[in-house]
Amino acid sequence: MSEQNNGLNTANEDNTPHPNYWRSFESLYRDPKVIEAKAHEFKEGVTDDFSPSGMSNISRRKFFALLGASAALAGTACTDYRDKGEIVPYNVKPEEITVGKPNYYASTCTACPNACGILIKTREGRPIKIDGNPDHPVNKGKICAKGQANILNLYDPERIKAPQKNSSLTFNEVSWKDADNEIITALGLAGSDEIALITHSITSPTMLKVIDDFKAKYPTAKLYSYELFNDSIKNSAWRKTYGSGNFPLLKWDEAKVILSLESDFLGTEGHKVETSRLFSQNRDVDSKKFTRLYCIDSNITITGINSDYRLHIRPEAQLEFVLSLANEIAKKGNITSAISASGYDLNNFAKKYNLDSKILNYLVSDLIANKGKSIITAGNSLPENVHIAVNLLNDALGNKNLYRTDSSSVSLVDHSTIEEFEALVQKMNAGSVAVVINIDCNPVYHFADDLGFEKALAKVPLSITLTERLNETTAVTHYALPLNHNFESWGDAKVRTNVFSLQQPVIAPIHQTRQKESILLSWISGKSDSFTEYLYLTYLKNNWEKNIYPTLNSKISFDKFWLGALHDGIVKTTSPVISYGAANTGSFDESKIEIKNPEGFTLIIKENYSLGDGRFAHNGWLQELPHPVSKATWDNYAALSEKTCKDFGLKDNDLIEVSVENRKLKLPVLMQAGTADNVIVVESGFGRTNSGTVATGVGFNVNSLLSSKSNLSPWIYSNAKITKTGDTYLVATTQEHHVFDDPLVQDLHIIRKIIQEGTVAEYLKNPSFIKENNEAQLPSVSNPYPYNGVKWGMAIDLNKCTGCGDCVVACDVENNIPVVGKDQVLKSREMQWLRIDRYYSGSPDNPKVSIQPMLCQHCDQAPCENVCPVVATTHSPDGLNQMTYNRCVGTRYCSNNCPYKVRRFNFYNFRDHFRDSYQENPILALMHNPEVTVRSRGVMEKCTFCVQRISEARADATHLKRNLKGSDVTTACQDACSSNAIYFGDINDKEEEFYKYRNHELGYYVLEELNVKPNVTYIAKLRNIHSEEV
């Protein structure tokens, strides 16, 4: 410390005590050493080590830079940053992939035994959408709801990801090697004990060869195949009448009159996609070609709602009806059939069952008048003698003309009979079955309880289930081995005589799964390490090269042929012209006729439209697809007629106990208009006990009412009983059940011209009768926007629409629509952008049903647009009503003001809300269409007319330097519609086919009087009823 400023000290230099401040005695007495020391800043020696060059060379700037950087690092390290996984760019562009452009691969759908050809749309290597393969001669570019929703199965987070071994009720993951070793050893040690292979229908010739190889390696192996719902009765009846083969394919498109007896040929029976197309070709306003459909059934089906005349009788009465009909036709038309049924009289029959004899007379005269141009078809569930009688009646009417000769269905392996399964169970119980292998099937759930399969399975030393996900069967088998999904597998299929279908994978197996053929092949090889990725591909190719290719007489080399076939997805073959011999007139044994007057209730067990036999129960989209008639979701129920409900004091949602013999099941009641009295109709596929988060505990397992002892048929049980339990159970439907006899709401859809209908006769007389009914165009007070360029519009032909709902699922997949769950459907918050409205008119006993697909109408003067306070919904110059999700705050005003109520609001983040964020699983994100925003909580959404497809088409057109045309774009619903009821295109382009429908004389807008100017035209439905009735 320098003292130089201290004037007091410097003035007094002697050694006398200083009067001022002092810090030590030395200082006080002015010790010169101290004074000297004070003169220096630093003490001696302190600065010896100081040298600027030896100092750290971190500058002040650098110090601050480092300080800042470490603060920033410390700050960011503590934030919520999480590694979102690897994002790897294509450093080397894969040959086939252009980022942002989809690739399409032809393959085959294995969701059901129909084996439709499909085109799988992939983006950057992930499949995102399924459409029908347009080259496939059977499904012709269309695919059903199950096929559409199959994409969800691929990405299902609950697929088993590795082999599972069941050790005392818990599953442990094991390696394929260990599993294979144990299984191969067990198979080898089977000795004389049977190895049972249980599977659904086999549609693949190569799979069949694998099984033959398996049988060769393990000679005691025996194949069993089954389908819960099948056409075996129909086919066996056919064989009794015509000797061999299967029931033929029909020319639905050429039939003038169709009589359906308990048959749902537009729904669950046969090839629905093909039948709908052919059927709707015959309901064409363009060619003015209309078939007339009579339905005589006990429950209202998709076929029933599309009929022109419908009568309901209990299934027990069908035989009597066919005989009475044959007799009447014989009498009136002088047509003798091989059935001599003189004891049966149609008028008496009509009286006995209280049927409208006028309709029956029409039916008889139509059948007589259209000899050779009519089809009588009996439902798969009817007993054999009805089928035989129908075959003979068709034969007598000359309807063999309408049996297709170009192709017929092929069943590679016949289904096992119930006796064979009974024998299997006996052997299993006796301990003479060493191994049971369930190949991609769920017999514990499907088989009737009284077969005792589940108990017997416990006695088998080794039971294996090859499956995609855990199910009721895996719960009681030793091994659950994970299978590849349809889209991860190779394969082939032959279900028609004139075509092979090929299946190729479009994605590498996501999990440690193998395809079922590979698993069997590695067991055949007897070596646990024989599996390779290409094991089955090599086998498949070999089989084709050696066994199939030579039969095709192809002129190109096999390699070229193979690549071409994979590209096309199909191989067409020439099938020999099928001829139908003479009917065996003795096939109908009258002596065996036993007409029982139905007593008590008749229980009918039916296949569910969307879940099938339960195979798709875990698929949320299909669970949420409303039933085409009842509009119920997420449940099955006992459908009863209104009269039956009244008689027993039941109402909707009452829980009743249905019992057949000693089997009982509690079910909720749903009053279904159009059901025959005293008939209980229950659909199968629900009540799964071990089917993951989505399906477990949803609905009721009606299979527990099945019996292995056939009643009227395996699906129809007489003498069922119902008892009221007093409890209730809510069934979630997407449409309210409106009271029929409430004059306030009756026929509102007709009064409000929501549904406009006419008859064919009326139309032929006055083609513009709909237009004459319509409101006059109101003059506009403002200048409407001119829309000079392309303006998008849609036309929906209500004559063709069957109401199946395939389009709804297609829309779900295309537009990333979440599953909301039963609780939200009960609250009327389903998210489907497209819905199929169903209206009843007439009596609840036998209603007339009208169907109308309803989606955003893209109104020119959209009422939703002007009420949005934040301009989140606007109109585009090409006529689209657009939603800007980012801008939407969710006032819901637009939805309130929408007269069609087609807007959908995200009341929750439904992906998070449904089943504890099941849909938030990262793997499901792979499924989303990358071109469509995934909407979150609080925003409004609605049909966009597939604007992403329009944008893509526009980009392509720009790229090719041509104008965008209406026909460049198809919407997802249009692509899916198997009856081609939806047309989409440019309203202003007069050259297009769409223009014809947009301006059709039968076209009308829903709620035209509101003058909102919709861009969706509905073509009024024409009912082909007799002109005398008009």
Binding site: E736, I754, P869, V870, Y900, K901, N906, F907, Y908
Partner: protein
């Protein structure tokens, strides 16, 4: 009955002198709150907390917690909004319109009614903000310049609503505050607490009761009354546009603006009467808020109730007369459809029960009028429910019809809004003069110079 119509009836009963008036009104602020006050406060705060929890959960999970569904996009949240805006109508009507019409009896109740207006509009204001699906994006509803070039949609009535309600709130608040200034001055002069003195001093804006202050004050008050008067009519007119501008049957009606305004005054007066009955009793203000006051309010309730009843019948008539099927159906469905119970609650509470006010005895009977005004409050809530929900639940396409059932969160928010309102009311009674001291003094006997020297008139 012998009533002398040549003389005005005294507005203040009990021959209170000016000091007594001030003493009486300032009493609640000078004393510590008692046990009853805390009980009342804890009840209302509990209700408020129920609302806060419901709101918190709604923010967390989404408005899916409410009962709203696909056709019924608006339900309790909008019903509550319209209800509270309606309640907020009495105050400004009493203080502005009656002021301009020189209705001196308004002085006893104007302050309280205005306060209730402000609190009711605060309650109402919550709902448009929370009813959105993404309340964190509510800023989009405000027209602010931004780099996106995005602007709000001025054709949407919902936006007009935002402006109407905020304007109304601002003007009502300013009007109320201006009216309070002389009283703040009085309170400042009375109080001995230093803290209170500071607060009152700030809010009294240097009020010194000078002649010049009074003359400025009265001019300002008159101008603000003029400002506020059209707002009384405009707010609910614009709220009614939310419905009337749409195309949904039951909403798309030209009768809505006057119908809504009448209904708002009706419900507002009923709510003011409900609260005043308690306030005059608890704070011993029977001499200032006299039975005559209540009777006059009951007359307004009777007349507006009949206007509302007229609107109900006219809606039916027009629905039939117009020949619009969807509309005539909707009105039949209201009366006889699934929500008939709500409709008949509304009709009986709003039209039938207020008819009892034709009887003078009932108009002047505290217990009976309390029952009737509570019915009116209930009825007016149901009126909004009927308009909002029953129109949406059965509109054009029968396929999309669905019944709305409220959830516990809907009810929680409704309770919460009442909790919020009454908490504010209760806090208000202890912190500000519930009756305007200066105005009441002005209408007290002898306060005005008269030709007979201000003597008590016989």
């Amino acid at each position: 009955m012998n009533i002398d119509y040549s003389q005005e009836t005294p507005l203040i009963a009990g021959r209170l002198d000016l000091a007594q008036i001030e003493e009486l009104i300032a009493q609640p602020m000078d004393t510590k709150p008692d046990r009853k006050y805390y009980i009342a406060l804890s009840i209302s705060v509990t209700a408020l907390l129920i609302g806060a929890v419901s709101l918190g959960l709604t923010f967390y999970y989404g408005i899916g917690l409410w009962g709203n569904n696909q056709p019924v996009g608006w339900a309790f949240e909008i019903v509550n909004f319209v209800f509270w805006v309606g309640i907020g109508h009495a105050g400004t009507l009493i203080s502005a319109i009656l002021f301009l019409l020189r209705q001196k009896w308004r002085t006893g109740i104007a302050r309280f009614a205005e306060a209730m207006t402000i609190f009711a509009v605060m309650c109402a204001g919550i709902f448009p903000a929370i009813h959105t699906g993404r309340p964190w994006m509510d800023g989009y509803l405000l027209p602010y310049p931004n780099q996106h070039g995005l602007w709000v949609n001025f054709t949407s009535p919902l936006l007009w609503d935002v402006f109407a309600v905020t304007t109304y709130f601002t003007v009502s608040l300013v009007f109320w505050y201006v009216g309070l200034i002389p009283d703040f001055g009085s309170m400042r002069d009375r109080t001995t607490s230093k803290i209170k003195k500071t607060i009152y001093s700030i809010f009294s804006l240097g009020w010194r009761h000078s002649n010049r202050h009074w003359s400025h004050y009265e001019k300002a008050y008159m101008l603000l009354a003029g400002f506020a008067t059209p707002l009384v009519l405009s707010v609910h007119t614009i709220v009614s546009f939310d419905f009337a501008v749409s195309i949904i049957p039951g909403w798309h009606t030209t009768i809505f603006p006057p119908y809504f305004v009448a209904g708002a005054i009706f419900s507002g007066f009923a709510m003011v009467v409900t609260v005043l009955i308690f306030v005059r009793k608890i704070f011993d203000l029977q001499n200032i808020i006299t039975i005559d006051h209540l009777e006059k309010m009951n007359k307004v309730i009777l007349s507006t109730g009949m206007m509302v009843g007229y609107a109900y019948s006219m809606e039916f008539f027009i629905a039939w007369y117009s020949g619009v099927q969807a509309e005539s159906f909707l009105f039949l469905s209201r009366a006889f459809g699934p929500y008939a119970w709500a409709y008949w609650i509304m009709v009986s509470c709003n039209v039938l029960i207020p008819q009892l006010f034709w009887f003078r005895k009932i108009r002047r009977s505290i217990p009976l009028m309390l029952i009737i005004v509570i019915f009116v409050n209930v009825g007016m809530w149901f009126e909004r429910f009927v308009i909002t929900v029953t129109s949406l639940n059965r509109d054009f396409l029968p396929s999309s019809w669905a019944y709305f059932t409220p959830t516990m969160y809907d009810i929680g928010l409704l309770i919460g809004s009442f909790g919020f309102f009454f908490t504010l009311v209760i806090l208000f009674t202890k912190s500000l003069p519930v009756v305007s001291i200066s105005e009441v003094k002005a209408v007290a006997d002898g306060a005005q110079p008269t030709h007979h020297g201000g003597a008590y008139h016989e």
